[in-house]
Amino acid sequence: MSLTAAVDADRLCVAKVLAGDAAAFEEIVRRWQTPIVNLAWRFFRDRDRAEEIAPDVFLRAWRALPQWRGDSAFSTWLFALAVNVCRSELRRRPVLAIPLGGLPSAGADHSRSGDERDEILRRAVLTLPEKYRDAIVLFYFHDKDIGDAARTLGLPEGTVKARLSRARELLRKKLTSQWEAFR
């Protein structure tokens, strides 16, 4: 489905739901379940928790549907709502930090794989202050599209760029020693 067709399909579904056809919401759930579960997955790095939070996102979207003014894409509105739900949940119950030192080092019997290195990096993102974490998570979730990330966060692109830059700097400081172990 092209982007325009998806946008039109969303508008149609929303109109049907608002007219009283609750079943029309299923099309929205089916279309957006994978992105929403994956957005939650990027915030929690825990499949169970991601699948626990994602239904709440849809339920809140259902309740707040009359408030969607239609001046932005439905997906932007839904992602922004998902980010808020994830933020609230993270404030309530933060992600458990896995100590980097607890992982096997490169000098040990086995070498760290690239996957393991990437996982360390992704988990390090979750330890960043909220505003930097959100910028990084959304930038990569939106396939490095600053505009989409900014729209989801409701911030100017310049602010998101600045936060990304600062976030990368913090990650570099945090991970340089661990990163060297992979070389």
Partner: protein
Amino acid sequence: MNHDELDCGLSQADDIVPSSGFSVSVMRRIESEAGALPPIPFPWLRAWPGICLALASLVLLATAASNSRAHSVAVPALFWALGSALVAVASLTLVFIAAKRP
């Protein structure tokens, strides 16, 4: 660790697929919420007479009480006061019944 290494590491997609029953369970929750009866509004129309009677009785009660103090005519004033108090209680009971009925 340079920008490219960081960018490359974070760009690696490791997306997950929602479990098979995900959309069904979401829709079940939505449908149960959609099917739930809306909260019953307060029946102001039926409650108004009771509220007015209660207020009027309270005013009478206050007037009677002040009169009995001013003129020291205790007996009729007390009757007034007792009568007003009874009407006030009855009116409040009416309001309560009106609010309880669907």
